[in-house]
Amino acid sequence: MAGPSIQTKKRLLFLLFFFTALIAALLVRVAWIQVVQGDKYQKLAFEQQTQDRIISPRRGTIYDRNGKELAISASVETISANPQVIKKTKQNIDGMAEKLSEILEMDKETVLKKLKKSSRYEWIKRKIDKDVGDKVRKWVQDEKIQGIYIDEDTKRFYPNRNLAAHVIGFTNTDNDGIFGMEKVMEKYLKGVPGKILSEVDAGGLEVPFKEEKHIEAQDGANVYLTIDETIQYFAQKAMDKAIADNNVLNGAAAIVMDPRNGEILALVSKPDFDPNDPRGAPAGVDPATWKGYTAEDVKLLSETVWRNKVVTDTYEPGSTFKAITSSAGLEEGAITPESPVNDFTVTVGGRKINCWKPNAHGNETFEQGVFNSCNPVFVRLAQGLGIDKFYSYIKAFGFYDKTGIDLPGEATGIIHKRPSEVDMAVASFGQRFTITPIQLITAYAAIANGGKLIKPHLVKEVTDVEGNVIKKYEPEVVRRVISKQTSDTVKNILEGVVSKGTGGNARVAGYKVAGKTGTSETVDTKTKGRYIASFSAFAPADNPVVCVLVILDHPNTYPHTGGYIAAPVAGKLVEDILNYLGIERQYTEDDKKLLMQEVPVPDVRNVTIEEARKILKEKGLEYKVEGDANNKDAVIMEQTPKPNASVLEKSVIILYTHKPAKDVMVRVPDLSNKTISEATQTLNDVGLNIKVNGMGNAFAQSIAPGKEMRKGEIVEVEFRHLDTE
């Protein structure tokens, strides 16, 4: 018999190749799944096979430098369900939804939808209070409910609300840090979640013959920031006040740094937010239409309240930059404090540069040039150094680089790559290039600490649950920029700026403050308050322990100069901080002269006029009697101001010999621009007393002119120097 034909044999051979090729292809395919992608699938499989209730770790606490709690994890509970188990056990889903929605105060349909899902794990409600969780627990136990779980959870809580919000940041509902230090230090704070590793089948029931493994959660480590809660509070309060006083439109920023080690003691960026509700509607937004989660809303949040002006905003430093130019000139030996200079107009590239003072200061020493903040002096100094030298200092002070502060989103400004003579001329007094506030304060810290540029940082150390230090953050010196000697000279000159020059409003009796004013124009040439007023300071000038930078963005007021509106804020802040740090005041003769003795008002009620006169004289106070003034034995019934109020020496206390049927009222006079003595006189003339804040000319008074006050009461008056650029 004949076997298969040749044609059949050929086709059989073809089939052999065909089948072999297909099987080979499948072998490659399986290899791809098993060998190449095996790990991925194994992980996914593991997740679904062990997807049980997770034991969440307690997120570490964020402390300030003194161990005060800034961010803590509060114990709450989370209710979850396993819809597969509920389905399998054939429970009354409708009844369960009813009860759960009642306890948890939720919409019943929402709960029902979750219970009917085909998944094995559904959140019903997260982060509920313990007592609500207990109610669910009781119901589950009483009714023998299956597939509803009550698990421990933690919720992030920020006890100080807005305080240092930009530094601390916030977490999402999963307790993942997504902003600020919460994000930066995530790997330490987070901890490792625990798991109940019972292998489960697709129904969510535990697999038979398998052992259950408990993996305990590892709580997160604690982070100690360099922030000092008290100083942060001072700074924040100061900025709130400055914004209100000066009608600041675009927010404000303040940084307090320890120049010796780069530790940030306070960081304020305004507007800010409450990290307990970071997605709340910012001011000026209708809360009714606000979601907080849409792309649009998040964009708005990022541009306003979440924006950390200290690291992400760039601005022209203005005259504050003259400290850098001065340092360069002094370090290069191009100038000394006593060098004769003048501030007559200088022309660069056809552009005339004048001093801010209409008729200029004329011939002066370099030091005076800095006190007076004369632009031409710095232009000539920079020209003397030359482009390469001058810009090498800008680079050395770190203005071309990020400072490397441990916050996300640090920006760098726009700064000349190939500067021309004109670029350099205007840069010498801080114009036409931009920097970030953190760059400027870092540079000032270098001047203050003897010449070393130190990387600013916000984290001091990390400790484990038992309190053992697991990571310590040491100061990092980037480079030496100027010598100790130059540093001392610049410190001395900047101290003069405050004690004798344009920084007078930052003056604090008893503390030597060094600093420099800055008034920068912004690109918004037409908008209201298009300036940025700033003041950069450090104190005590001979041995600085704090460096402060205050920036007010778009103050819609006049005058809008840094010396007028930012310097007093910085000065007050420095005073509060040094006081708090226990730095002893050393009064100079000048201070003593200016310092007027305040005395507490004694209680002279129920004594005779004669006795009262003696008591008041002892305290250095004057008096005026209303009523029976000639009867020396008349008894004082009432007095203004009341006992223990604090008044200046020589204030007039009004004494009443009878209960006044009606208070004697006087009209408050307008004190605008008056000097301290003028204002005191004006008030005394109408029978009112004064409380003096600051120096210079009256800037604000606690009771508006024209209002009526009881005779003898105290009007608080704030004074400022007007002669500030």
Binding site: T8, L15, F19, Q34, F46, V200
Partner: protein, 369 residues
């Protein structure tokens, strides 16, 4: 030439190894499912498979000793019987609806899929008829068309049962025999046009098939629904890695893979035995195909040659489609894996087919080792 030689050792050994491996895998994969579904009766499927396997072995040895040439004259009767049975499966009382399909016949204690008989009937009938009429095959109307019509009847009957995988297997096997018998390539190309249209129509006509295509294209998107099986299968295969979790240690068989002892038994095996196991099993099938085709090439007559290629194709097509489905290389269809997927009667029919193949090998002229 009539004197019998030894049967093909390679085929015999391969079949035995596959049968053993298959039985072990049925137990391993079904244990959790059986425990859960049949109230703790972990060994249910193993017990049943251990009853069928010896019957299958006996059937194979008996058939192995029946001269295949005697089968030819029964083939046309077998075709008629199989067609009637396929129809009967659709009659409620005899057939029974399972998951929307009518694939099974229940007569007394015996239940089986008539498509199993149809497979053998088509192989035998086509081989027998074509070995006589293969010269006519070059003509379309009097040669090829009658065979296409028989295929058409089977396709219609199987689709009536909603048995897509059976349709694919029978149509493929019939076409392969036609191809080997010398049908013209031109005609195949012409045929492919209505065939493709038919497949498209079948997919569009039944929404669940369209869903399966969608699930194939993006199984992760339909993870909770149509894509569930495929996703679970991929997770099982993937987590096997190179060496596997070890025999019996699959985790995916715990109700993640639906009926893990049926069409997706390969996935469980891949998870437990790893790529090493997959490679070994596919290599065994490849050896089987190689020997099957060798028998076909060296068969003493065209009849034997066509049966041999028919049976070889029957195995090959099922293996290829099954593995392709579980690895998400093609849209899902319920294709069993020969020797592995659980099923008593189908195993017995399969072993009968092996018997026929081995019997042909006894008359073939070639080196056996």
């Amino acid at each position: 030439m009539t004197n019998k030689k030894p049967f093909d050792f390679w085929i015999f050994a391969t079949v035995l190894v596959l049968l053993c491996l298959g039985t072990i895998m049925v137990f391993s994969s079904s244990a959790a499912y059986a425990y859960n579904t049949f109230h703790g009766d972990t060994y249910l499927f193993l017990r049943k498979q251990l009853q069928s396997a010896p019957i299958g072995l006996v059937a194979m040895i008996v058939v192995m000793n029946i001269d295949y040439r005697k089968l030819g004259k029964w083939s046309s009767i077998l075709v008629v019987v199989s067609m009637v049975l396929l129809l009967m499966a659709r009659i409620p009382g005899i057939g029974r609806e399972t998951k929307g399909a009518w694939r099974w016949i229940y007569i007394g204690p015996i239940n089986f899929q008539p498509s199993e008989i149809a497979k053998l009937a088509v192989i035998l009938f086509f081989s027998y008829s074509l070995s006589k009429r293969k010269d006519q095959l070059k003509y379309f109307y009097k040669g090829l068309l009658p065979y296409l019509m028989i295929i058409g009847v089977y396709v219609a009957l199987l689709m009536f049962e909603k048995h897509l995988s059976g349709t694919i297997v029978i149509a493929s096997v019939a076409c392969v025999i036609l191809f080997c018998a010398g049908a013209r390539i031109k005609h195949f190309i012409l045929m492919s046009i209505p065939a493709i249209l038919g497949v498209v129509a079948a997919i569009i006509y039944e929404p669940y098939r369209l869903d399966r295509v969608r699930a194939f294209l993006d199984p992760w998107k339909y993870k909770q629904d149509e894509g569930w099986q495929i996703v679970q299968s991929l997770l099982a295969i993937g987590s096997g890695g190179l060496f596997g979790r070890g025999l019996g240690k699959s985790l995916q068989k715990f109700l993640y893979i639906p009926e893990p002892h049926n069409d997706f038994i390969f996935s469980v095996m891949a998870e437990e035995l790893g790529y090493i196991g997959v490679f070994t099993v596919l290599l065994l099938f490849l050896i089987f195909i190689w020997r099957g085709i060798k028998i076909a090439m060296n068969a003493p007559d065209a009849f034997g040659s066509f049966i041999a290629i028919g049976i070889t194709t029957l195995i090959a097509i099922q293996v290829i489609i099954n593995v392709a489905v579980v690895t998400s290389s093609m849209p899902a269809t319920g294709m069993p894996l020969p020797f592995f997927s659980y099923g008593g009667t189908s195993l017995v029919f399969l072993m009968c087919g092996m018997g026929v193949l081995l019997n042909i090998s006894r008359y073939a002229n070639y080196e056996r080792i």
